[in-house]
């Protein structure tokens, strides 16, 4: 059986667009995230949305709607700049907004805030930081357990000279307990917003390991990892876990 160009062209178009139309009809064809987080599958919370599945592509408006949190509280907790519509502000943009801070304020911060605001369980084994304003709102809510309260006191974004330069943050409202010294940051082998590639090398991670995790050659050692990553339009939090694992292996 021979086939010439015209029937072949028709076959290609029919199979390609037919496949797209068929999968669209079955609701399988999705070109973006569903913006519906996963739900808890066990226990008394079964069926409720799990804040741990909040993605960077969500907007504050969507988080507000999904988790029934007032948009004003979210805007205040994350100090969305005046003139910016918090409802359409994507969570992944937080990393750019707070690029100069010593600790990362990003999607994971929103996950933590949402969970504690709603009194939902959240894994506190990872270091996730919040702005002082967010902590104040959570304390006002009065749903924090002693363990959560203690965790938050150690994970309020430290105010540094860089942080003071951020227009969206009121430096005067930082609780004294939140301020970390630079020496604490150096001895703490945690990959965070201010960590440079040199820090990783100093902690014993080899350049080959870093190249392997990045999927490309490591840039200049003094480059801040977060800046390097966000400049590419990617979320720092996605690579942070892999780098932290490499650091932990050297202990």
């Amino acid at each position: 059986m021979k086939l010439t160009s015209k029937p072949l062209a028709v076959a290609i178009l029919v199979i390609l667009f037919g496949g797209i139309m068929a999968t669209t009809a079955m609701n399988w064809w999705q070109t973006e995230s569903s913006k519906v987080p996963a739900v808890y599958t066990e226990g008394e919370l079964a069926g409720e949305y799990n804040p741990a599945d909040i993605r960077g592509s969500y907007t504050f408006g969507e988080v507000s709607e999904l988790f029934d949190i007032p948009l004003a509280d979210l805007g205040a907790a994350f100090q969305i700049p005046a003139g910016t519509d918090a409802a359409t502000f994507e969570l992944k943009s937080l990393e750019t907004l707070y690029a100069g801070l010593p600790q990362e304020i990003g999607t994971s911060s929103v996950r933590l805030f949402t969970a504690l605001y709603k009194g939902l369980p959240y894994d506190l084994s990872e270091d996730t930081y919040l702005l002082p304003q967010a902590v104040e709102i959570l304390q006002r809510q009065g749903q924090l357990s002693a363990e959560q309260e203690e965790y938050l006191m150690g994970h309020i974004m430290g105010m540094t000279a860089n942080a003071a330069a951020q227009p969206a943050i009121e430096a005067t409202s930082v609780p004294a307990a939140a301020t970390q010294t630079s020496s604490e940051q150096v001895t703490d082998r945690t990959v965070k917003g201010s960590t440079t590639f040199q820090d990783l090398l100093d902690w014993g991670v080899t350049q080959a390991e870093i190249n392997s995790i990045l999927g490309e050659k490591m840039p200049a050692a003094e480059t801040v990892i977060k800046t390097f990553y966000t400049d590419k339009g990617l979320e720092f939090s996605t690579i942070k876990t892999s780098l932290q694992a490499a650091v932990d292996k050297t202990k």
């Binding site: 059986m1 021979k2 086939l3 010439t4 160009s5 015209k6 072949l8 062209a9 076959a11 290609i12 178009l13 199979i15 390609l16 496949g19 797209i20 999968t23 399988w28 064809w29 999705q30 070109t31 973006e32 995230s33 392997s212 995790i213 990045l214 999927g215 490309e216 590419k232 339009g233 990617l234 979320e235 996605t238 690579i239 892999s242």
Partner: protein, 281 residues
Amino acid sequence: MSGDILKKFTRRRIWIRSLVQIFFFGLIALISVNHTLVTTGKEIPFLSSASLHALCPFGGVVTIYQYASAGTFVQKIHESAFILMLIGFLLAIMFGPVFCGWVCPLGTFQEWIAGLGRKLFGKRRYNHFIPQKIDRWLRYLRYAVLGWVVYMTAVTGTLVFSNIDPYFALFNFWTSEVAIGGVIVLGIIIAASLFIERPWCKYACPYGAVIGISNLFRIFRIRRNESTCNMDHVCDITCPMNIKVSEKHIVRDHQCISCLECTSEAHCPVAGTVDFAAGRN
């Protein structure tokens, strides 16, 4: 192959293939523009504004591991890429890598630059700069690229290929989303296309590497009838992938893109000698 033979034929394109290629190039370009317009509150009506990552079948390939192990997709990849991958496989099983030869806008773009290269260097020299001995081994480089991309995506859980993706760079060069690595690779491809036809497809495309394997078992194949072949080597000269069609009965080369340029419908001057056909003979 002599200059006389080259003078005997004029390059005839299969117009329907060119039309399909222009259609897909325009469609992807418009969708990409629409993706940018949406962020400004404007939108081209009745047209998708999907991210190009969502419309690339290779996205489906790189997320297979994560989907199998965790049931989720790699960041920026969605169900659509997975579906396109499956459609691409179905097309490849039936007709070979027609996605490369008929649909892929990056392949089309390289062919357009090839037209300029042919004018610069002539039909005989263009696409024959690299010595065959070296070229033969370079053709397997795309499998190394495929292995690296799949492995790194599995390890990091991120779309590492986006850092060097020339397809994304071609349709997003005006946005901040494009990686400098992608722009550099695209620049190299443009320069190389002046000397070599489809350099990215030949030496580096990981998706081409995947569906190129279908050439070993596809249903419709390029077949040469040895009894009527006059051995003028026109099929060899016109093949954009430099396959020696005149030395084969059935083309099983992993680089064939089913463009049909070698067939009697296009350049082969003898009717019924090089055909696209299914069946044993």
